[in-house]
């Protein structure tokens, strides 16, 4: 039995595109490939060496197009942990609140910002100012001014020919991409209403230390450092809502609270909200981050001629007159990050700086903040009221080292 060669399977377009792409790198202007040469690796700095930071550092290295040359974290043990694994000398493992400034001062082309969300806007702005490409974890901010700041950084990055990519795994997953495109094209008709949820157990625990360093280590328990569960985790599902509907909500109303955790500064256990979108589209949303039960990130939207159903890690499909069977996404957590890491490298090499993920991420981040504000106040809050209030959240970190 004959075997089909890889080049044959690629087809003519694949072959031509590949050949042309290889040639393209040699004619790009230096300004479009800042800090990189056709065959050299992207020098990467990692800002934030906690659980996800150290995990994603491995994926960047595994990609093959990056060389990790610098890292930073408030805590020495975390920075040195990444440094030791990737054979960085101590001079390139930075600590303290200003660790990111030292990373930016190293010879890096790009930074991956995986620090607590509270710090991301300032760190991203500094990175763009320093002429570095930015790969940012979600959420990109914990308040309205922070979102505005990130939006501006995305634009400044584009003006400086820098790539700014926000890492949402769903947006890099083909079944999600295809299903959402079909909905936006009208394959299930006009959207009517839907549900979305994001439910997990105690991801960060129950208790929040009182001192600054304790809070920095358990930042996920601090409602300001993390943005609360609706911004820090539930944004996964709220981002899919805004992606499917392709709009920001007009208002939100609902509730939330603590039954298991104690303390004003600690995150909520749950949120239950209704989001009102343009054209009368309504979404019921709920989340929890405690206990046991069915976990997951799920979205269902009903429309005049069908429905879309998405499960993070599970099935994605459309129902109706033009059905789309989609498929399952069992490795989305890693596959999505891997895809985004590859896109980041490709964009840097190609000088592709439309930075399209930034405004979409700002939109879903503000959606989460809108829901949080409604739950905190117990009142219906409109998008315009939220933007006008421009509330900034501040956490006193006296006692932490610079």
């Amino acid at each position: 039995m004959s075997k089909t060669s890889k080049s044959a399977r690629l087809g003519r377009r694949g072959f031509l595109a590949g050949a042309a792409a290889a040639a393209t790198f040699t004619i790009l202007k230096p300004s479009l490939v800042r800090g990189t040469e056709a065959n050299s690796k992207i020098a990467l700095g990692l800002i934030g060496c906690g659980g996800r930071g150290s995990w994603i550092a491995d994926l960047f290295v595994k990609h093959g197009g990056y060389q990790l040359v610098s890292c930073g974290d408030y805590f020495a043990d975390r920075a040195q942990g990444v440094g030791k694994k990737h054979k960085l000398d101590a001079a390139h493992c930075h600590t303290g609140l200003s660790n990111y400034k030292k990373v930016l001062a190293d010879k890096v082309d790009a930074v991956a910002i995986i620090s607590p969300p509270y710090f991301r806007p300032a760190q991203a702005a500094a990175a763009v100012e320093a002429g570095k490409h930015v790969y940012a974890a979600k959420p990109i901010a914990i308040d309205v001014p922070g979102c505005a700041n990130i939006g501006e950084s995305g634009k400044k990055a584009a003006a400086k020919k820098l790539v700014f990519l926000v890492d949402f795994q769903t947006r890099a997953t083909p079944f999600y991409q295809e299903a959402v495109k079909r909905v936006q094209n009208g394959d299930i008709g006009r959207l009517v209403n839907g549900t979305s949820d994001c439910c997990y157990g105690f991801i960060f625990g129950k208790d929040l230390p009182a001192d600054a360093e304790g809070r920095l280590r358990k930042w996920g328990m601090d409602k300001v450092l993390s943005g609360d569960i609706i911004v820090e985790q539930n944004i996964h599902t709220l981002d899919v809502d805004t992606w499917i509907i392709d709009a920001a909500p007009l208002a939100a109303v609902g509730t939330g609270g603590r039954k298991l955790r104690k303390g004003d500064d600690v995150i909520f256990d749950y949120f239950n909200l209704v989001f009102e979108y343009p054209d009368g589209v309504a979404v019921s949303f709920h989340s929890r981050q405690f206990g046991d039960g069915p976990d997951g990130i799920n979205n269902v939207m009903f429309a005049t001629q069908g429905a879309i159903e998405t499960h993070y890690g599970g099935q994605v499909r459309l129902y109706g007159r033009a059905p789309y069977p989609g498929g399952k996404t069992p490795n989305i957590y890693e596959d999505g990050a891997v895809a985004n890491i590859a896109t980041f490298a490709d964009s840097i090499k190609a000088g592709k700086v439309d930075n399209a993920t930034v405004p979409l991420s700002v939109r879903s981040n503000l959606t989460a903040i809108l829901g949080r504000t409604a739950a905190y106040t117990g009142k219906k809050v409109t998008w315009d009221e939220m933007i006008k209030a421009n509330e900034k959240l501040v956490r006193n970190l006296d006692g932490a080292k610079d």
């Binding site: 089909t4 044959a8 399977r9 690629l10 087809g11 003519r12 377009r13 694949g14 031509l16 595109a17 590949g18 050949a19 042309a20 792409a21 393209t24 083909p174 991409q177 295809e178 495109k181 079909r182 936006q184 094209n185 009208g186 394959d187 001629q305 007159r321 033009a322 069977p325 190609a350 592709k352 439309d354 399209a356």
Partner: protein
């Protein structure tokens, strides 16, 4: 040769309108301009109005017709000649409604081809395929509820009857013809001027050629029914220049272009790329055929 094939062979008309100067010639700087030479015969999209027919098939078609040449085939289908050229495939990131599988890149089409001025009508479909499952019914309504293999079978049977290579267009050929020298989201006018889409179709397909044509005289490239193309769907077409890009050799879904009466206008943009399971016969999907007179391998896949 059965009776229908004989009828098809006999019923060939080639009406050349001469070397009309379209977007590649004197109108290159006016991409939205209408053809300067009118067709020698009125469009004939229904069986009742078939033009005067001549005998013979390929021999009646010149090897290198002029841009904008027009012919009417044995089933009354009007086709327009599109000469080789280059265009920018995909959409600019700033285009409203775009999706991120539309990365803009330069494409060169090295072979000229004939393309039907309209979507295949139900009357034309019946002449070749006998059975019409379209909904709603109507001679001049576009054929629909046909799978990709059935669309290919239509091309095969028509090719056999006329002795020439009818094909579904590649998506690059389709977009080249749709753009007809233009660069925006819609070619030949606004969405409402050129397309039957969800917000102006009243929930049904319409008789072909009911909206404005594009600069090359092609109707309903946007909206009405979406059109099967030859290619498998490949999400990332890349930003590198390509020459006569063709489908990957393997794949799942087949490309559908142009959007339909049941899609939002954004899905009817010239750069919008859709795909469906080739086995699905959908009431929003039909076809438009091309002939590749200069193809060195006319027996290649559909």
């Amino acid at each position: 040769m059965n009776q229908r094939q004989r009828a098809l062979r006999v019923g060939l008309a080639v009406i050349l309108a001469g070397a009309a100067c379209l977007a590649w010639g004197c109108n290159r700087d006016a991409p939205d301009a209408q053809p300067t030479t009118k067709p020698a015969a009125a469009p004939t999209t229904g069986p009742a109005t078939s033009p005067a027919l001549t005998t013979g098939a390929a021999s009646s078609m010149p090897a290198h017709p002029g841009a904008g040449a027009i012919m009417v085939n044995s089933i009354g289908m009007k086709l327009i000649y599109v000469p080789p050229g280059e265009f920018r495939m995909g959409s600019d990131p700033s285009e409203p409604g775009r999706h991120d599988d539309e990365t803009a890149h330069d494409v060169k089409i090295t072979l000229g081809f004939w393309i039907a001025a309209t979507e295949v009508t139900q009357a034309q479909w019946v002449k070749v395929m006998s059975i019409n499952r379209s909904e709603p019914k109507g001679d001049n309504l576009p054929a629909n509820k046909l799978s990709w293999p059935q669309a290919v079978d239509f091309c095969r049977k028509l090719s056999q009857a006329e002795g020439r290579a009818y094909r579904l267009p590649t998506e690059a050929q389709w977009e080249y013809a749709c753009r007809s020298g233009s660069t925006g989201a819609f070619s030949g006018g606004t969405a409402d001027e050129v397309a039957w889409h969800m917000d102006d179709s009243d929930g049904t397909p319409h008789a072909v050629a009911g909206k404005k044509p594009n600069a090359w005289g092609l109707y309903d490239m946007h909206g009405n029914v979406a059109e099967w193309c030859r290619d498998f769907y490949q999400r990332d077409l890349g930003s590198a220049p390509a020459v006569d890009p063709a489908a990957p050799a393997e794949g799942g879904a087949r490309i559908v272009r142009g959007g339909s009466w049941d899609n939002f206008a954004r899905a009817c943009r010239g750069a919008a790329r859709a795909s469906f399971n080739p086995a699905y016969p959908l009431d929003r999907v039909g076809l438009r055929v091309i002939i590749e007179p200069e193809s060195p391998n006319p027996s290649q896949n559909p």
